[in-house]
């Protein structure tokens, strides 16, 4: 197809050029007019908080999602909207955050998979395939475990195997999702070296992560997104200094509400002591301790993957843990999730978990099942005052509502169960500022008119700070800071950005 001039242009063009990329999910614009380029031997960091659209951009490049508009040029060829396998054949490889290896095959066979051609008549692998797979395994540091099954490998080695599978296809463009998630400091170093090798090989690398800090040493340039839009671009240092980026991650003039001081000396209603959680081989929580007092609002802030949801799931009895969690003087270990919920700890999960095919009223009624009828209707009346929007939408099917309305319903449904402790996990995820304000007002009302204790998990510091009496910062499975909201900007902001 390409004439001589065309191929010359392709050679000079960047390996990956994304132009005007837009992706909508229904009414939500997940990525809007995104444009960037990556040349040979260059590493671009794509950052943004949870829900900013960075994963969407990556998925569109790989062909896992189809864009609504825009172009994705790989070596000069527009591949936007192609199926994944053709984009892969055009020279794009991806390293997923979560690996799903073939468990009955050995590590070597898993890597060989990446070396096989997409042909139906390949009944016998070429002789060189096994040797190539072996060489790649050596390169990423898997030389000693070639004949083991993936299930027996530590987490970091599984990540290496994913990297090896991507290398096997010899991609010109490599997309890596959260390269360092779940790794220890020394493992991070060896991973960084492997990624740097990609640059030395002359590949174009796109690293997708939450914040600049984790990519600063590696990325040549950083592209920052928020709510689907580009907010900054430049070197890691420039992006870190960028006022918009600082406002998104740290909040602008952080507004700290004046709180009436707590009666001194009252015992905490919830104590988490030295709690650790392992997911298979990944350390999701490590020695986390915190306490919450009656009527207090406590925020746990941390980026996606820091361990917030795991912490809440441990408190709600949804994941096994080591350590102690004491609620109202009673140890929760060994009690079922249902028993914990009945004792007054109600979690409003990040994923909302609404009954999508039921309407607003039915969702609320379900949560109010255990209440006597008059009390349930009084509670419902109160919730409609708290979220007037829900009264207007009473008969609307939950899954057809906007994200903000669904979030309100999720919170209302949790409150319908009359919690003593309300755990809110990322209530602001993917929501527009105007909705944030309404949810913010509702939380303020809760604080001033009820005795409900609130534990809020957020990566959006701007939202978390005004609603907190105290803040914990969770980073890579550990609590790294604890203090008053007024001290956050000065003491903890640097660890967060």
């Amino acid at each position: 197809m390409l004439d001589a001039r065309g191929s010359a242009a392709a050679a000079a063009a960047p390996l990956l050029a994304v132009q005007g990329l837009t992706k909508r999910y229904g009414g939500l614009v997940a990525a809007k007019d995104i444009t960037f380029q990556i040349g040979a031997g260059e590493i671009l960091g794509l950052i943004g908080p949870n829900g900013s659209g960075k994963s969407t951009v990556m998925q569109v490049i790989m062909g896992i999602q189809r864009p609504n508009a825009g172009a994705v040029r790989v070596r000069g060829v527009d591949v936007a909207g192609w199926p994944s396998h053709r984009i892969a054949q055009q020279g794009v490889g991806i390293v997923f955050q979560h690996s799903r290896p073939l468990h009955r095959q050995t590590v070597l066979e898993n890597i060989m998979l990446g070396l096989l051609p997409d042909k139906l008549l390949k009944l016998v692998a070429d002789r060189h395939v096994r040797e190539r797979a072996r060489a790649i395994a050596e390169r990423v540091g898997l030389g000693g475990v070639l004949d083991r099954k993936p299930g027996t490998l530590p987490f970091a080695d599984l990540r290496r195997m994913e990297l090896a599978k991507a290398i096997a296809r010899d991609p010109k463009v490599v997309l890596i999702d959260e390269p360092f998630a779940g790794l220890t400091a020394s493992e991070m170093d060896s991973f960084a070296r492997l990624v740097a090798d990609f640059r030395a090989d002359g590949r174009a690398v796109l690293l997708v992560d939450h914040n600049v800090k984790s990519l600063a040493a590696l990325a040549d340039r950083v592209f920052a997104m928020y709510l689907g839009e580009r907010i900054a671009e430049g070197t890691a240092e420039e992006v870190t200094r960028d006022p918009t980026v600082r406002r998104v991650y740290l909040g602008g003039g952080i507004d700290v509400a004046k709180r009436p001081p707590r009666a001194a000396g009252d015992a905490p209603i919830l104590q988490v002591e030295n709690v650790s959680v392992l997911y298979g081989k990944a350390q999701a929580l490590e020695g986390v301790s915190l306490h919450v007092h009656q009527g207090e609002s406590v925020s746990v802030v941390g980026l996606n993957g820091a361990g917030k949801t795991t912490l809440f799931n441990a408190i709600s009895g949804l994941v096994p843990y080591n350590g102690r969690i004491v609620w109202n003087g009673e140890e929760l270990h060994g009690r079922s999730a249902a028993a914990i919920a009945r004792s007054g700890i109600v979690q409003c999960p990040e994923t909302r978990e609404l009954f999508g095919d039921l309407d607003v009223r039915e969702n609320l009624d379900l949560a109010g099942q255990h209440l006597p009828a008059p009390e349930a209707s009084r509670q419902l009346e109160w919730l409609y005052l708290l979220f007037p929007r829900l009264r207007d939408r009473e008969r609307q099917i939950a899954r057809t509502m906007s994200g903000g309305e669904q979030q309100m319903l999720a919170i209302a449904r949790s409150l319908m169960m009359r919690p003593k402790l309300l755990i809110l996990d990322e209530p602001t995820l993917g929501l527009a500022p105007v909705i944030l304000e309404q949810i913010s007002n509702a939380l303020e009302q809760l604080r001033s008119t009820t005795s409900i204790t609130v534990l809020l998990g957020e990566q959006n510091v701007t939202f978390a700070l005004p609603h907190a009496d105290r803040i914990y910062v969770l980073d890579h499975a550990r609590i790294v800071w604890e203090g008053e909201p007024s001290c956050f900007a000065a003491e903890a902001a640097a660890t967060y950005l």
Binding site: M62, G63, I64, P83, S84, H85, R86, A88, Q89, G93, I94, F96, R100, L102, R104, Q105, E109, M112, L113, G114, L116, D118, K119, L120, L121, K122, L123, V124, A125, R130, K149, K165, R169
Partner: protein, 311 residues
Amino acid sequence: MTDTLRGLLGSRQVWIALVLAAALVTLPWMVSAYILGILTIAYYFGVFAMSWDLLFGFANEVNFGPTFLIGCGAYAAGLLNAHGAPVWACLIAGGAAALLGGVVLAVPALRLSGPYFGLATLVAVLLLQQFIVIFASTTGGEIGLTMNDILSTEPITNYWYALGFMTASGLVLFTLSRSPVGLILQASGQDRIGASALGFNIVKHKLAAFCISAVFSGLAGAMLVFYLGTASVGTVVDVAVGVQVIIAAVLGGRRTILGAAIGSIFLILAGEALRPLGQLSTFVVSGIALLVILFFADGLMGLLLHRRGDT
């Protein structure tokens, strides 16, 4: 080639299968013609179940209508034979008809995800069944179609045909499952996105698996009706027959191919052994199958392999 060969010889499954095959070869000198007849049917079922396992175990697609493919093969062979075609031509036609039917069904059905593929295959069986009943003047309808020819009148000869056919099919399907395309098929079945991101056209690979499954099912269906001497809805098309194939494959052990054949032999022999119980025998066999599915999801082959540490 040597790698594949070494891989095959290194597998415990292959040794289990070889020992079993050796045992089956000696049976004509040890058991009655009646038992040989039961086993002959069991071997054809073994091929149905192995073909089904290629789809379920490797492509991760549940085909609730194995009898659509089997029935296409059986009736195509039967109808041609009624018009005077020789047996060998009818067998080839049976395989080809199942392939054609399979492609017509799978091309649209593989675009569906989740349980819808399975539902589409189930509906296909009902359609085929209705078709046969409606065109009764040609197909014999509910009474069935009597074949002009049969494979052989000798039970021992029939036994050899069935055992040979099952062994050959098992060898092909098992080798295929352990080959590079088998590896790609497993990756496509277990992680759609991951496999396509590695550059594999998963629809193509699944379609190929479906076609292979169809050819063996259709061929086995055609062989079976030439053994039985009749083709009827109750023996090669009915949903209950398909359920039996599925139970046999799951009972034998998912993703093992050879386990499916063992499951079929076990299921049919158990049904025969419990025949004195009358109506209860089906109940007891189904109960055993349910227990195995609930508590030993890896099936009989899984039990054999796990005990010896070959997971």
